[in-house]
Symmetry: D2
Subunit: 284 residues, 4 copies
């Protein structure tokens, strides 16, 4: 049996839902999941649909071609179709913090994440032993002012060689280049250690401490050119008080970062996230 | 323009979604919301759909009749169709606690609740001044062992006279009779002051205190014959510690009760709740 | 029996706790609550202590005088001593939103708040009926560009005449004057409808919607000259999604605002809040 | 410099705080943390105090002896004194689930936990590779009906040989023997995968699914003879909906279990937990 996930967005108008469900039915598909959303301010229609096909002659590529030439064209849709047989390939970028790395690899090992991790890239050697323990190839690509271009080329080479689908910055402490971002639009997931848009940039826990907030947060978002301003996928928060030092905030924050990032990765790999106007529509 | 909300559940099989959306399209409707769920353990299909009709000849009753004789019959559906023009009528049952009453009437007054409150019933006179302030008719129906039957008859008479659609027990401190429950199945909403199924029955805050829990809760559910065991609509929780006395738990709990009950009422009046196997499917 | 609450802060050094507890013991007091905090970055010691005195000759004013001339002077303390017999007097400033008003007056009526409300001030007449229902004197003081000074004088006159201890801005939609702030330092409590420091200023729910955050918040803080930048007392949050319109955010936010403001008022009247360096130390 | 943590509970009476702080001051100690609680229902006084001693002649054992013979005796106190120089020794009991194991060892490795882990005991071999990766000795002690006594003897031997201070059951799927419990009273920490007291016993996620709760939880508690009924240290919750299958609840629950257990372990090793009447007093 074949199963596909279809993501659509287009200008809102009448009968989109009936047209799409009708189309699927005619092709012999059985819809097992449907969700939709209309942004009334922008007048945009969003839809996520999962369908199973039992016909022997079905191929995802054939379906894609047909969809593209008929419905997609008629409604002027932006669309993506994924086969559930293909696991997305994720590249992990890390630096010196190990908590998100342990967390993601632990979930990966236990089968919780529906993805492949062909390799890990780090600008430091500190966490190589963890990658080794989990038997994931580790590439040390140091980044300095002078080697920035060279490092980026090495990164891109690896990403392309392994047909990487998306990148996760698991507390990677370098700013990702414009070139990389443009090659992986809405495909680079970052975890920022604050409740964005509060405390953009470096040392957010220090800023949170100074401001005396009673709640801290973590935000996972797609990376765009503007720092910490990309579409938000997931946010988490935790209560704090005057008794917490900056170190306590950092420790509490680690638990937030781990879970918020893991949730964002799962939403992304389950094809549940659509991006529009620098915001996300997430079909849970 | 007419707008209807359609709720369906039936045995799961192929092409239900396409059949329904097709049917709506043929009748000239534009689907503005669709959500569905399949209970894989029970093999039941659930669906909620909102559709707008601009054809002059459209009537909700005509649509109902057609739907009943075609699709509903073909798929052996349980279904309900609501016109968005009709506001549901809610009867409020109260006793001596005023927090949920103030909260609901405050929201009612500010237009937050899409319903009508034809009257309030109480077994005590204490809260009559609040009903008076909000200009809602107040009926004092005392309940004692001897007057139980008589009281129930008076309640039923009022409910029927005003064509009440559903009842909210806003900390009503009497057990509702089997007869009333059977006349309003899944239409009596209660707020229980614990995180069910923990602490069923009376004095849950005392039990929570004794057990030393670190989190307390409140649960809004439909009333069934078994005490505090009906389908759960909404739950809320709050952190507590050893520093909280029973009185503190009660005070903290009041805030939970208010919000959990108000949310449940809103979900019910927005026709977002379906009940099956003593559980709820809620299409947010 | 007399009961006092003592709040202290001073430069940290050895033996402050023993000195204070010893002093209380010598004066015949029994300490029923003690909590302390040291800000290690600033080297400041904070303490909150409740003590009961059963000696007939005890007077709060006598104790204050003694404390001032001995310990307070020796350790160069900033300190406040409150008798538990005196209820603080709160002035309520409102405009057109009624949810915080209903919430606070409901709690006030049910005895949950340990304070007096001598009057309500509003720059609009809309909510007068609510004040009337709760039998709280209502003063309509309109504020326009031209009448700003005059309005402020009327406000100050009322505040002084009734010996108001602190002011609560329950969604009061005017900026409070520098003069008022300087007369009531850390005694004006505001509720801001965002998770500060995100979305300072007007229309925070609109900004939150635009940024596509997944969590919204509310913040209660003391008013200082810089807008929305005063010491934070309490914050609350709620999860939201792409399905929420701006109106939905506003509705969800109302529930946050009510509870966050009520909690802040309770912490303030229970003398549990100390302010230092634009932050709060809160002894729960 | 020496630093001690002192935990006390005794019948409530006047002047305990002043007596203790005075005692510490006379011995040359500087109190850096003090917190206290009175259970008004039981009339019990609780206190936690940290004090630093800079005198050369200070020894923890000498201080203990003196305290025992003077204050402790005078007030009939239950008390414990810990030197901050001694790290508690924790034995980890595991079975087949790896999420709590990864989480605790990740935190241990990064220095977040102030303890030593001399060894891991498991009734299965599955997780040995993880123990090996983290270089913690792993003892495989299978438990069957026939070998139960023998297994317990081996466990006890290991625990005694390494002077284990407390035991953590990180999803250990065997019921711990009465003998072990009596040797480690309030020193065996379990993580139960429900919001106790709801869903005691096996398969709580299945029960939660069946009941249709809207919030699931996890509870860390000390093990007592009655199953899942010991003093609660920490609880956590997460929202769920009808869309979550049992497998989804289990996956969501894993994140709760990890964090709730880690927090309980930290509270225990920081000597912040006191147990009384099957409840905990926790000085955060």
């Amino acid at each position: 049996m074949n199963k596909i996930t279809l993501l659509i967005h287009c200008k809102d108008r009448s009968n989109i839902i009936a047209s799409v469900t009708n189309f699927i039915a005619k092709e012999g598909g059985n819809i097992v999941y449907i969700d939709q959303h209309v942004d009334r301010e922008q007048d945009i229609f969003f839809m996520r649909l999962e369908s199973e096909f039992t016909i022997d002659s079905f191929t995802t590529s054939g379906f894609k071609e047909l969809f593209k030439n008929t419905l997609a064209s008629e409604f002027d849709m932006k669309w993506r179709i994924y086969s559930s047989e293909v696991k997305p390939k994720m590249a992990l970028f890390i630096s010196k913090y190990d908590h998100c790395l342990y967390d993601l690899l632990g979930r990966y090992n236990s089968g919780e994440l529906n993805l492949e991790i062909p390799f890990i890239i780090s600008n430091h050697l500190d966490l190589k032993p963890i990658a080794d323990n989990f038997k994931i190839p580790f590439h040390h690509i140091p980044v300095t002012k002078n080697t920035k271009n060279e490092a980026e080329s090495k990164q891109l080479e690896l990403l392309e060689k392994h047909n990487i689908d998306f990148i996760v910055l698991a507390r990677y402490m370098q700013i990702v280049s414009r070139k990389l971002i443009s090659k992986y639009p809405n495909k680079i997931i970052n975890i920022h250690h604050s409740f964005l848009p509060a405390f953009v940039g470096a040392k957010p826990y220090h800023s949170a401490y100074k401001r005396g907030v009673k709640i801290i947060g973590a935000t996972s978002h797609y990376v765009t050119e503007e720092l910490d301003a990309g579409p938000i996928i997931e946010q988490g928060v935790a209560h704090v008080s005057h008794t917490h030092s900056i170190q306590d905030l950092i420790a509490k924050g680690r638990d937030l970062e781990k879970i918020v990032l893991a949730n964002a990765v799962k939403l992304h790999t389950d094809r549940k996230v659509m991006v529009y106007n620098n915001k996300t529509v997430i079909f849970y």
